[in-house]
């Protein structure tokens, strides 16, 4: 890290501890942040609002030293600083608590808090001192967590407290919290907010990111809104309300298309009846007695917050995870016992949420990824026919408009949007009559989004039933005939295309979990 001289704080208010000025960040051709300004106020909570992909996490990672900006500068206590790693950030008193906690579940609270900074005594690690300090930290946070408890045995809310304690143990002055409440129960949120207020009282500045808008409004002192990599608004809490945030978050939307018309909406293609799916732990139901019918040629959007059960619903229907009870009918036929391969053969295909983890095989070429789900279509007498495969791959590349050097290019050479098109093209090559897409627009730029939705609308017009999920409310109103809002495993509302973004967000619980 390098510290510059203290400058006349041009345009920086005296209570701003950390300021980002004209921050730019590009990933290849994608510009994740464009000339963003961001102020962290001393001893206060500054909340960053924005839809997925707006650049919130990127900005936070720059503040925390995980990423370095392409251009722009960070000013800490009036001095320009360069933060090149999380270690440097920590030395400057900046800590980040990630969406996915970074604790070792197999170790106890004490060892996690002092991981990498063990206190050494004469005979190795000075456990007693570590334990004493851990107890002191927990007392400060007014949390009754045993320093010797295994982190894996703690509830998620408590694990979050451990993360906070770790940040405090290194005297963090600035604490960045990325979606800290997304996995917490209402009572755990209350505890967390109390801890946040205590931290404020101690002069710790907090940067907060949340999708729960009203919840965030109850705790924040300042609001900053990002949209499509640009900062669109910033104001203190007293001057803003929910409507202001939503307006600045959503803005004038890029045209993502209209629901396809001029074709016949046919018979029910997919019927889900009283479907229940348990979570991995089994304590709560990810999907709870859900009913859904999708007709041929219809486009249905499922909206919900993280943890609403959208992914579990999709994966259960596709055969990846078992149902606890209920029925899934494809064209009237019960497909309950069928494998994923059999469901694909029957005409039901899933484009998974995480394309790196579940969608792509990184070790094979673009063409082989595209043809992976439809190998049977170019197999002649037990052998793959390269010419037939090439024809199928070439037509897929044209159909889903993948920009690539050719079918033999490595899959990693494609941009995120084009990779997503490969995953969609792969499943379209199986000629599905029902296509499920879990967050098809995740992590792709706005132009690619438009193209993905156009492909889906075209197929719906030809009679395919399309179900897609999204956590961006603007995308619900793109090509969907019907919008279904899920919350805690159930359908809580259903809208047609003529609804408003505000109505959808309100139904999803985006406005406050009671």
């Amino acid at each position: 890290m390098t510290l510059g001289p203290v400058r006349e704080a041009g345009g920086i208010a005296p209570d701003v501890v950390l300021a980002a000025r004209n921050i730019e960040k590009s990933f290849g051709a994608v510009r994740a942040l464009r000339s963003v300004n961001f102020d962290v106020h001393r001893g206060q909570v500054t909340t960053l609002f924005g839809e997925n992909g707006a650049g919130k996490s990127t900005l936070m990672k720059i503040l925390a030293g995980v990423l370095t900006p392409t251009a722009g500068e960070l000013i800490l206590d009036g001095r320009p600083v360069e933060i090149r790693s999380t270690i440097e950030a920590r030395a400057l008193g900046i800590s980040i608590i990630h969406q996915e906690l970074s604790l070792a579940p197999n170790m106890n609270v004490r060892d996690n808090i002092f991981l990498g900074r063990e206190i050494m005594g004469r005979t190795g690690v000075y456990y007693a001192e570590e334990e004493r300090r851990t107890r002191a930290l927990m007392k400060e946070l007014v949390e009754d967590i045993d320093p010797l408890a295994l982190v894996g045995d703690l509830r998620l809310g408590q694990q979050q407290i451990v993360e906070i304690a770790r940040a405090l143990s290194i005297n963090s002055r600035i604490l960045i919290m990325d979606e800290p409440t997304s996995a917490l129960s209402a009572s755990e949120v209350t505890v967390l907010f109390k801890v946040i207020r205590d931290l404020k009282a101690r002069g710790v500045s907090i940067v907060y990111i949340s999708h729960h808008l009203e919840e965030a409004l109850t705790i924040t002192d300042h609001a900053v809104v990002l949209r499509d990599a640009v900062m669109t608004a910033a104001a203190p809490r007293a001057e803003i309300d929910l409507e202001w945030i939503v307006r600045n978050m959503v803005g004038e939307n890029f045209d993502l298309g209209q629901p396809p018309t001029g074709h016949e909406i046919g018979a029910p293609a997919l019927e889900v009846k009283r479907l229940t799916v348990d979570t991995a732990g089994g304590a709560v139901r990810a999907v709870d007695g859900l009913d859904l019918t999708v007709r041929a040629g219809e486009v249905v959007c499922i909206y919900g917050l993280m943890g609403a059960g959208r992914t579990e619903l999709m994966e259960c229907v596709a055969g990846r995870i078992p149902a606890a009870s209920g029925q899934v009918l494809l064209h009237g036929r019960d497909i309950g016992g069928l494998s994923i391969a059999d469901r694909i053969a029957a005409g039901l295909a899933l484009v998974p949420e995480d394309r790196q983890r579940d969608g792509l095989v990184q070790t094979i070429s673009v063409g082989q990824n595209l043809s992976l789900a439809s190998i049977g279509n170019f197999t002649r007498r037990l052998l793959t026919d390269r010419r037939a495969e090439r024809a199928i791959v070439d037509s897929s590349i044209r159909e889903v408009t993948v920009k690539t050097d050719g079918p033999d290019a490595p899959i990693g050479s494609l941009s995120g949007g084009n990779q997503q098109k490969v995953v969609i093209g792969k499943m379209l090559a199986t000629n599905p009559s029902v296509l499920l897409l879990d967050e098809p627009s995740r992590g792709i730029d706005i132009g690619a989004k438009g193209e993905v939705f156009r492909i889906l609308a075209d197929h719906a017009r030809q009679g395919m039933a399309v179900v897609y999920t999204t956590s961006e409310v603007g995308e619900c109103l793109a090509i969907a005939h019907r919008i279904i809002v899920m919350r805690r495993g159930r359908i809580v509302a259903e809208f047609t295309h003529d609804t408003t973004k505000e109505a959808i967000m309100a139904a999803s619980g985006e406005s406050l979990v009671a």
Partner: protein, 350 residues
């Protein structure tokens, strides 16, 4: 987040493209160049290296290790490992010996002498059975491949020892009166000066190469090894792929067991000890990724040639066999280092 991952992936390929000058060319063909270098160096160092008799000796070793390595390649492509092949080789050899000595059926009061072809079929069945057990343990009981095959390594070796009481079956020649002669034919006969065992290796390698490049199974295997989640969601029968690679590896070990016992006209329960490590080394030197999804039959054969030719060369120029072990180890580590340069960090992604 996904934007970042895709950009790192793009960077990794960008790096690979940058390396595709003459340096990249050498990197791509590294096993081949290593083999040429080994042959040239040892031919200069010893007049006995580049001789027909030495190539015959090395060829018979290549046949054994090559067969094991080709089977191992299939398992490694799936992202697994098969530590049991050396023991399976021994078990299959002993099993063949036991059948050739005559099986006494007490209930019928007769001794059954199977013809050689039937012994071969039964032995292959034994290899496939060991592989099937490995495959079921890995695919259905979710035992990590390392542990599952470590278990069968011990069990197969133990069964082989039990079957012979620790002794070796000699005299596998058979008896013309019993109609079971010809076991040594494979190990001793040559066609155009090349031992038959080499033809067996070539046939198996061609078959596996064909399986990998021209059949749906090949696609299934490469995709399963590259990303089992994506493969499964694309309708690939991932479990069946896992089972089959171990069965095929077991079959290859059985063929190697037949070839070895035929070369020696005897079958001992301690044969093939640590051969699994040599086979893994050959696959790795041949450029396959231990993370799965990358590797070719051609590379694996080159790997087997490099290891055998290097070892034989060191013996011929009189380097102690201890040094031979050191050199082999160094070659393996070097190969893995070059593999990780080639595949970048992408191969390590979970």
């Amino acid at each position: 987040m996904s934007e970042t991952t895709s950009s790192t992936a793009a960077k990794a390929t960008g790096k690979k493209k940058a390396a595709s000058g003459p340096l990249g060319w050498i990197l791509d063909g590294r096993a081949f160049f290593a083999l040429i270098a080994i042959i040239v160096v040892f031919s200069i160092l010893s007049p006995n290296y580049f001789t027909v008799s030495n190539f015959l000796i090395m060829g018979s070793q290549v046949a054994i290790f090559g067969l094991l390595a080709v089977g191992m390649l299939l398992v490694i492509l799936s992202g697994g490992i098969d530590l049991s092949v050396g023991s399976t080789l021994a078990l299959c050899g002993v099993f063949a010996g036991w059948l050739l000595q005559g099986v006494e059926l007490e209930a019928l009061g007769v001794i059954l002498y199977l013809p050689v072809w039937a012994v071969v079929v039964c032995t292959l069945g034994m290899g496939a059975l060991v592989g099937l057990i490995n495959g079921l343990l890995v695919a259905h009981f979710k035992v990590p491949a390392f542990v599952a095959t470590l278990g069968t390594l011990y069990v197969a070796r133990g069964v082989a020892l039990l079957m012979t009481n620790g002794l070796t079956f000699n005299r596998l020649q058979g008896d013309p009166a019993l109609g079971n002669t010809g076991w040594e034919w494979l190990g001793f006969n040559r066609l155009w000066g090349v031992p038959f065992s080499i033809y067996v290796l070539v046939a198996v390698a061609l078959a596996v190469h064909f399986l990998l490049t021209r059949t749906p199974f090949g696609r299934w295997l490469y995709s399963t090894g590259g990303n089992p989640n994506a493969a499964q969601l694309s309708g690939v029968p991932v479990r069946a792929v896992y089972i089959w690679v171990y069965v095929l590896s077991g079959l290859c070990a059985a063929v190697a067991g037949i070839v070895l016992s035929s070369q020696l006209t005897s079958a001992g329960p301690t044969a093939g000890n640590t051969y699994e490590l040599t086979a893994i080394a050959a696959v790795v030197v041949g450029g396959a990724s231990l993370m799965g999804g990358r590797g070719t039959v051609g590379g694996t054969l080159l790997g087997a040639l490099v290891i055998v030719f290097l070892g034989a060369g060191l013996i011929i120029i009189g380097v102690s066999s201890y040094w031979q072990t050191v050199f082999t180890g160094a070659v393996i580590v070097l190969a893995v280092m070059l593999n990780s340069i080639e595949y970048g960090t992408r191969g390590r992604r979970i």
